[in-house]
Amino acid sequence: MGPMPKALKALNVFTSLVFAVALYLVLFYAPREAVMGDVQRVFYFHVAAGWVGALAFLVTAVAGIFVLVRGDHRWDQLALASVEIGVVFTMINIVTGSIWARPVWNTWWTWDPRLVTASVMELIYLAYLMLRQGIEDPDRRARFAAVYGIVGFISVPLTFLSIRIFRTIHPVVVGNNDPTAQGTFDMTPKMKLAFFFSLFTFTFVYITLLWHRLRLQQFKERIEERKLRALTA
């Protein structure tokens, strides 16, 4: 692997700094929510992690289109790198939601449409990672993953819209809440700042991790090619 580009080093520093600021805003600057108490602070990074998951899967779907149209293998590398990050952050989103729900809904899990659709989305992309491993031919694997990534993306808007089209107890952050929603709250200006800054920060966390993961993938494929050449020589 070549030396780290200066832009990536700068991005590492910038992302670390904004992440530290986001932590400060979420833990100390935003006021304690009047009813739920401190656990509500998890909400800022819970939503931001969900946003990163959706963004990552969107990038995978777009990269999949480019794989099919242009047949360029680099788009497949991008799609794979993005899915891995999306799976990690969707997992964070689901687990932190469960932790928030325990004191607020009095349960770790309920068969609510949002929880179910988010979990199905996570399973779809976990399957993406597993199924890729089963295909030896790189071109066939890239085409399969591209189609899977595009079709699998249907689960993302479905998850986003689930709390808007189905009867649910999950709060809606942007838009009107279902009357049956539990754990809703009005954001004060300080809360709004912490919330939007968290979204901004996690977007940069995604970009930084994607770059690192992409470099890893390119390095891995170069080593695999060299191994193949060494074996056939």
Partner: protein, 53 residues
Amino acid sequence: MWLQEAAANTFDYMVLGFGVILGSMALFILSIALRVRSLRKDEALLDELEQSS
């Protein structure tokens, strides 16, 4: 908890939540670093093989 006057004491849940967030992110970064290290070892081995042949 909705009829109470003071905020609920949910500090432990908050700590657990941030532990999951920061721990998962740290594990992912660590996994990338470990995979890079493993590939660097493979690269060094391939260099040795190429030089000896």
